[in-house]
């Protein structure tokens, strides 16, 4: 028995009876290690088999592709660490863009007003998701499945009502377009390489999320509400606020990517975005986030999104039928789930008797 009550032996004088874990053990209990190994293998694989994958241009195209999924995936990853799901994030990206473009087109106002309006709208949707989940106790899977379908239908229905077609009007002539494009969808050249601003935004969001998770009390609370809601509540963690905040973070990031898509393409298809919610979740899980919550990190989710970007383009660069991409993603997901299970077991098994 290692505890005594009156005199805990000479414990404080020899704080060195710590067990130093071996490097491999410490590495194995990190959430992102499986994803990192997979990313390296996949990178080497495409590097060897697809000649056009080897250029710097295509590397930055991969990064761009990863950032579009990766920005929302970071939010979804945080939310999953907090123990919840959001299936509505995929279509919410397009809801954000559609609200902005059609409002400004219909009323002829500056696009900044539309962007602000759709930000408020998306945050309200995130709040609603979180509020309903916390208030009713219904699993977030069902609540957000509901909002997912509502948004999917409304995106199409409202767009058809306003414009008569299923795509939003071209907004490139409306005031504010250029400045908004500079913020959300700019790109610059380094030599022959095009670097998209969204990649930088992605890195910034990942860094912010990683800092928040590991270094702030909010991060502590996110792990706690995902790991054990009741005990978090018992020690005074504001669980409702934390979870609603997570849903709103996801909807903020969905809005951000929605703005990127809108100002990059000037027009959006109202039916887009369906299925992306799963890509976010896959990126998070491949990156080592536990489906049950309480474990994961932001860098892992970023690596998960990078794996997505590499394979979706790598298959094209290699000249294969892109239809295989989904099959590949499925295999990745299954492998990731198995690795996660193992890592979790490693982390919670008693290391020393």
């Amino acid at each position: 028995m290692s505890q005594t009550l009156q005199a805990p032996a000479p414990a404080p004088s020899e704080p060195t009876n710590r067990i130093r874990l071996s490097l491999s053990q410490r590495l194995l209990s990190r959430p992102e290690i499986g994803a990192l190994v997979a990313a390296i293998i996949i990178f080497i694989f495409f590097f060897a088999t697809a000649p056009s994958f080897r250029s710097a241009e295509s590397f930055f195209t991969v990064l761009y592709q990863s950032s579009i999924i990766g920005i929302v995936a970071v939010g979804v990853g945080l939310l999953m660490i907090g123990g919840e799901f959001d299936l509505s994030a995929g279509v919410m990206v397009y809801t954000a863009g559609l609200v902005t473009s059609m409002f400004c087109w219909y009323y002829g106002v500056n696009l900044w007003i539309g962007a602000g309006l759709s930000l408020i709208f998306c945050l309200a949707l995130g709040f609603l998701n979180g509020f309903l989940v916390m208030r009713t106790g219904i699993p977030s899977f069902l609540i957000t499945l509901g909002t997912f379908f509502v948004l999917q239908g409304a995106n199409l229905g409202v767009t058809k009502l306003v414009t008569g077609t299923v795509s939003s009007p071209d907004i490139s002539q409306i005031a504010g377009f250029d400045s908004l494009r500079a913020v959300f969808s700019s790109s610059f050249k380094i030599g022959s390489v095009t670097v998209w601003g969204s990649v930088l935004w992605w890195i910034a969001f990942v860094a912010l999320a990683a800092w928040t998770l590991q270094r702030t009390r909010i991060g502590n609370w996110i792990f706690a509400v995902g790991g054990n809601l009741d005990s978090a509540r018992a020690v005074g963690v504001p669980v409702v606020r934390t979870k609603i905040g997570l849903f709103m973070t996801v909807s903020f990031l969905a809005w951000f990517v929605g703005m990127h898509q809108l100002f990059r393409f000037n027009t959006l298809q109202a039916g887009s975005g369906v299925g992306n919610e799963f890509l976010y979740i896959i990126a998070a899980v491949v990156g080592g986030t536990l489906l049950t919550g309480g474990f994961g990190n932001a860098v892992g989710v970023a690596i998960g999104a990078f794996i997505f970007g590499m394979t979706s383009l790598g298959i094209i660069y290699a000249g294969w039928d892109p239809n295989w991409f989904k099959a590949f993603l499925g295999v990745m997901l299954l492998l990731a789930v198995l690795v996660n299970l193992y890592v979790k077991r490693m982390a919670t098994s008693r290391k020393v008797g």
Partner: protein, 271 residues
């Protein structure tokens, strides 16, 4: 080494002074009456044991004191002041800390993160203020050692500790953050004999440190080892309410097993 649980407890606690007084407290969930006419006193430096079968109202009672659900009838006074808690945070600010059976800690988080959960040390008040991680590690490590809980590595996930140790960390944390009343919800239910011993010794240490302890349990043997006052709940009402001097372990055990009902049953099933 004089540094034990006692030296960390609140110094204003005077043994025997009432910390929590419940008079005729009742609680209904819609049409269902979960609890009625409960009188309970928790004194400093004493262990009040609440025993009862499943569905007797033990958890409802804890929920009222720990702030998860407010009561409907009667009065709950803490330090002589009438209160009605609407959140665990409020109860905590009155010095009432609750340690739940399996839910005391977050298994995948490190020991030090668990120790400071909900009371983190930060470099500022703004939302992205950095945690003082080094300081928290050192404090958690030394404080736990001082309070008699020795963990091998403060950075290991707390799920790797034994069940008894986890309960002890949760209790030590509560004491460190100034708890004056500890509510322990079945702390020994999921534990083996040896581990239960660890926790019970710790409960006794908390009592000796002057804290008021509410010890909820199924097990009259565990209760009798540390208890000063015993309350048995049955179907939401008080079935027994006695001081240690007025009751024997046998009586407690019989009452817990069903008392008169058991006698009737044995008469009926006589062979």
């Amino acid at each position: 080494m004089t540094d034990t649980l006692a030296s960390h407890a609140d110094r204003d606690l005077n043994r025997g002074e009432p910390l929590i007084e419940m008079t005729e407290v009742g609680k209904s969930y819609g049409a269902i009456r979960a609890l009625s006419g409960i009188n309970l006193r928790v004194n400093a430096g004493e262990v009040t044991c609440v025993l009862g079968d499943n569905g007797a109202g033990k958890s409802t009672l804890i929920k009222i004191i720990s702030g998860l659900h407010p009561h409907n009838d009667g009065s709950l006074r803490v330090d002589g002041q009438e209160v009605s808690f609407s959140s665990p945070r409020e109860a905590l600010s009155h010095g009432i800390a609750t340690v739940y059976q399996d839910l005391a800690v977050v298994g995948l988080m490190e020991v030090w993160r668990n120790f400071f959960l909900g009371s983190e040390l930060t470099a500022g008040r703004y939302p992205l203020a950095g945690l003082k991680i080094k300081q928290m590690r050192t404090i958690a490590d030394t404080e736990l050692r001082k309070m008699g809980v020795v963990v091998k590595d403060i950075n290991q996930p707390i799920g790797t500790l034994s069940g008894g140790q986890r309960q002890c960390v949760a209790i030590a944390r509560a004491v460190y953050f100034g708890a004056r009343v500890l509510i322990l919800d079945e702390p020994t239910a999921a534990l083996g004999v040896k581990q239960s011993g660890v926790v019970l010794r710790y409960v006794a240490a908390a009592r000796d440190a002057g804290l008021g302890v509410v010890f909820i349990t199924h097990n009259p043997h565990h209760a009798y080892l540390v208890g000063d006052h015993f309350v048995i709940l049955k179907l939401g009402t008080t079935a027994l309410d006695k001081n240690r001097a007025e009751v024997s372990l046998d009586e407690l055990t019989t009452q817990m097993a069903g008392g008169d009902e058991l006698a009737e049953l044995s008469h009926e099933l006589k062979r």
